[in-house]
């Protein structure tokens, strides 16, 4: 019994689902009943749809319990820990036999996420026990030169995981070639794409792998100072990074004469972002670290020549750095075994939207969208039909279901008009209106445009105005043409990635869902019944049983009616939220 371990998943989404309370409950029961096991915490294993998760490892094997609450955990502790009898009812995964959720793990290859959900992210010893910092130690003890490191990273074929897809080794080479006594290594953790949470999970789950990647980059490019630019909206990630940096300093991985190597000095500081999407763009990020408005600068000069404080700077994304220690430890060949000819290795995706198994997955490049949605994601809930996936956030586009055989690698995704982006993958079903989605993204990019380039500043506003008109039933002939014209002008005349890609959601939805635009403009109808001005909710006199569920759930009290009598919706009060439609058990609310 002494070897039994109970591990609670305490990532942001786990905590939001109630994992904190479960952890406290376990601790209380453990103390009250004087049970003998080791209680520890970890972060996200990626199975967000089953949160909160509790893992029990004992002599017989590994058991992962899902959707746990304070009552269920008492049950589990009684049967599993006290009576040594795993409780199959709540089990979602075990290494001993098949469970329905086994598929979720099967087609994954975990490299960047290798430690997420496996270790306590606040304990450096646990990172070390899984081979952490051994890549760095090896580089220092074997005296591996910066040229050799860069060659290895180049050979691995690793490309920037933040969305650009530029060869990481190439970036390092440029920064390394620029002579300067002062150089910087920057980690871009300003994960601003709505719908993406890969970097948050990585920082929360395995902060040391990012630090180790940055330290190795510092050796390769010859930098002595590092900066992590992290969103302020990620308080837990910031806290764990802080702990990780402190522990790394104490253990001699950061500071002066690192690991006893004379003259190898490198330290990392955290800069908190202040809420501006454009700061994910590298030159805007640099401006922000320097304390200015986060406005992009013209390139060239590239950061590798003149970046932070006008010194050569290497900027990579969180996931890119997390891959580095693995590559140095296992070799470039091992890494490039995965993936396609031009897109090597694995990619982490954040699965969300209308999907059964939302969460974090890491798959080899070149897997098809269909496999991600159905094999890993478990398909679409409520038996609705799969309509599209949105890849790449506000800079990306929607790939329709009929192209779901598209392989996920940089070139194939770009060919559809979307982009790989940082890995947010939002699934949409028949109840999602594509015009509304285009409007949503344009609203986002318009608000986030820094205002420097005229076409991005005003063009996105004009596009949004047209889209709002269309979704409100005021669309006119020629609107689609105007949208396309503006889109190409914005793409051509913007300085940074934000403007160059902002029209992508509109262009891809026009390309693949033109009929939906036409239905809004010509027939003033929203085929997916989303656009509020184009729909009304009414009660069906024949099927309404007068159960009062709709009236009780209406947030604005627009529904009236006595028990067991037909109800009535006051159209003047109704905000068309659709709650009555979803709550009615008798299909008595009609949408027209």
């Amino acid at each position: 019994m002494g070897t039994t371990k109970v591990i609670v998943g305490l990532g942001s989404c786990g905590i939001a689902a109630g994992a904190g309370k479960v952890y406290e409950k376990i601790r209380a029961v453990k103390e009250a009943e004087n049970l003998d096991f080791k209680l520890s915490k970890t972060s996200c294993v990626g199975m967000c749809y089953r949160e909160p998760l509790v893992e029990i490892i004992d002599d017989s094997g590994q058991y992962l319990y899902g959707e746990i609450n304070e009552e269920k955990i008492v049950d589990i502790m009684n049967t599993h820990i006290v009576n040594n009898n795993p409780l199959k009812e709540y089990l979602v995964y075990t290494d001993l036999y098949d469970t329905p959720d086994k598929k979720f793990f099967e087609s994954q290859v975990k490299i960047a996420l290798r430690n997420c959900g496996m270790i306590d992210p606040e304990n450096i010893k646990e990172y070390e026990s899984r081979g952490g910092y051994s890549a760095l130690k090896n580089i220092v003890s074997e005296d591996i030169s910066s040229q050799e490191i860069i060659r290895e990273v180049l050979n691995s074929g690793l490309r920037g995981r933040g969305g650009g897809g530029f060869l990481t080794g190439m970036k390092w080479k440029f920064t390394s070639n620029n002579q300067s006594s002062e150089k910087y290594v920057v980690c871009n953790a300003d994960e601003g794409d709505p719908g993406a949470f890969m970097d948050r999970s990585l920082l929360e789950g395995d902060p040391h792998s990012v630090l180790e990647g940055m330290i190795i980059a510092a050796i390769a490019v010859g930098a002595s100072e590092g900066v992590i630019y992290c969103r302020a909206e990620y308080p837990l990630a910031l806290k764990r990074l802080d702990i990780a940096i402190r522990d790394a300093r104490e253990n001699g991985y950061l500071g002066t004469d690192i690991l006893g190597k004379q003259g190898f000095n490198f330290d990392i500081n955290i800069k908190e972002g202040a809420g501006a999407f454009v700061c994910g763009e590298e030159t805007a990020l640099i401006a922000s670290v320097e304390g200015e408005r986060g406005m992009p600068r013209r390139r060239p000069p590239f950061p590798a020549q003149s970046g932070l404080w006008k010194k050569p700077t290497n900027i990579n994304n969180v996931e890119t750095y997390a891959n580095i220690p693995w590559i140095m430890q296992n070799g470039a060949d091992e890494y490039s075994k995965h993936g396609t000819e031009k897109s090597k290795g694995t990619k982490v995706f954040a699965l969300a939207g209308k999907i059964r198994h939302g969460g974090l997955v890491e798959v080899p490049m070149g897997v098809s969208i269909k496999d991600i949605v159905y094999k890993l994601g478990g398909g679409i809930p409520h038996d609705r039909s799969f309509k599209a996936v949105q890849l790449g956030g506000p800079s990306g586009g929607c790939i329709p279901a009929y192209l779901s055989d598209t392989l996920v690698d940089y070139e194939s995704v770009n060919a559809t008009g979307a982009i790989m982006g940082s890995g947010g993958l939002v699934v949409m079903d028949e109840s999602t209106c594509m015009v509304d989605i285009a409007r949503f993204f344009l609203d986002f990019t318009r608000k986030e445009s820094c205002g420097k380039c005229t076409f991005c500043r005003i063009g996105t506003k004009r596009m949004l105005e047209i889209l709002v008109r269309i979704t409100e039933g005021e669309g006119e002939d020629g609107d689609i043409g105007k949208l396309e014209e503006l889109a190409y002008q914005i793409k051509d005349s913007s300085l940074c990635g934000l403007g160059q890609t902002a029209p992508n959601p509109v262009l891809t939805t026009i390309k693949y869902f033109r009929a939906e635009y036409e239905a809004h403009i010509e027939q003033k109808k929203c085929p997916s019944k989303v656009c509020k001005k184009l729909i009304t909710y009414e009660v069906n006199d024949h099927t309404c049983t007068g159960c009062t569920v709709c009236a009780r759930n209406c947030p604005v009290n627009a529904i009236s009616g006595e028990r067991k009598k037909v109800h009535f919706i006051d159209q003047d009060i109704c905000i068309r939220c659709g709650i009555c439609y979803n709550k009615c058990k008798f299909d008595a609310i009609m949408l027209s």
């Binding site: 709505p194 948050r200 408005r293 969300a352 989605i437 205002g451 604005v556």
Partner: protein, 176 residues
């Protein structure tokens, strides 16, 4: 467009004196003479007062040698900074992609209705401020809102209103 942020904030810029100027001392001491301090200085000022008071701008500008117009430019550029006092509880309703397709709009609608304030405003009793945010990163629990670092997932409008009512109840018990 970020210009919109300025317009909205300028009109309700309060000129009231701040209660405790000494909170700025440690910030001034910590950052004096360093470079790239603008954003952390403003962040810590906001952490101390809940917003950045006009008076704080003036004091910091004088003591740290930062230009007032640069400070104002930065404070209005980033979404995080507030130039007016906020409610005790800030309700951040997520409007990221995943939340949007899962009907985040109804959460905001229900809350504006229940609190009788518009998005971005503060209630008369200064208990709640309602904000829409881009993404809280809990996409698989969509739709999500966050109140004082506590996250509530898989919400409906009704449930969101219930959470608010519970907080209100707790607050009134507190004051008795």
């Amino acid at each position: 467009m970020r210009v919109e942020r300025i317009k909205r904030k300028r009109c309700d810029l309060p000129s009231e004196k701040i209660a405790d100027i000494s909170l700025l001392d440690s910030i001034i001491e910590k950052y004096n003479g360093k470079r790239g301090i603008m954003i952390p200085v403003l962040q810590e000022t906001q952490a101390a007062y809940g917003y950045i008071p006009r008076e704080a701008f003036e004091i910091l500008s004088e003591k740290l040698g930062l230009k007032l117009n640069d400070m104002y430019g930065v404070a209005t550029f980033y979404a995080q900074f507030r130039l007016a006092p906020v409610g005790k509880h800030i309700i951040k309703v997520c409007h990221g992609t995943a939340c949007h397709v899962q009907n985040a709009g109804t959460i905001t609608d229900a809350l504006t209705e229940a609190l009788k304030i518009e998005d971005g405003e503060t209630t008369g009793d200064r208990l709640f401020t309602l904000e829409s945010v881009a993404c809280l990163g809990c996409c698989s629990l969509a739709p999500v809102m966050m109140i004082s670092n506590e996250t509530y997932g898989k919400l409906t409008g009704k449930e969101a209103v219930k959470v608010i009512k519970e907080i209100k109840l707790k607050e009134s018990e507190f004051s008795i």
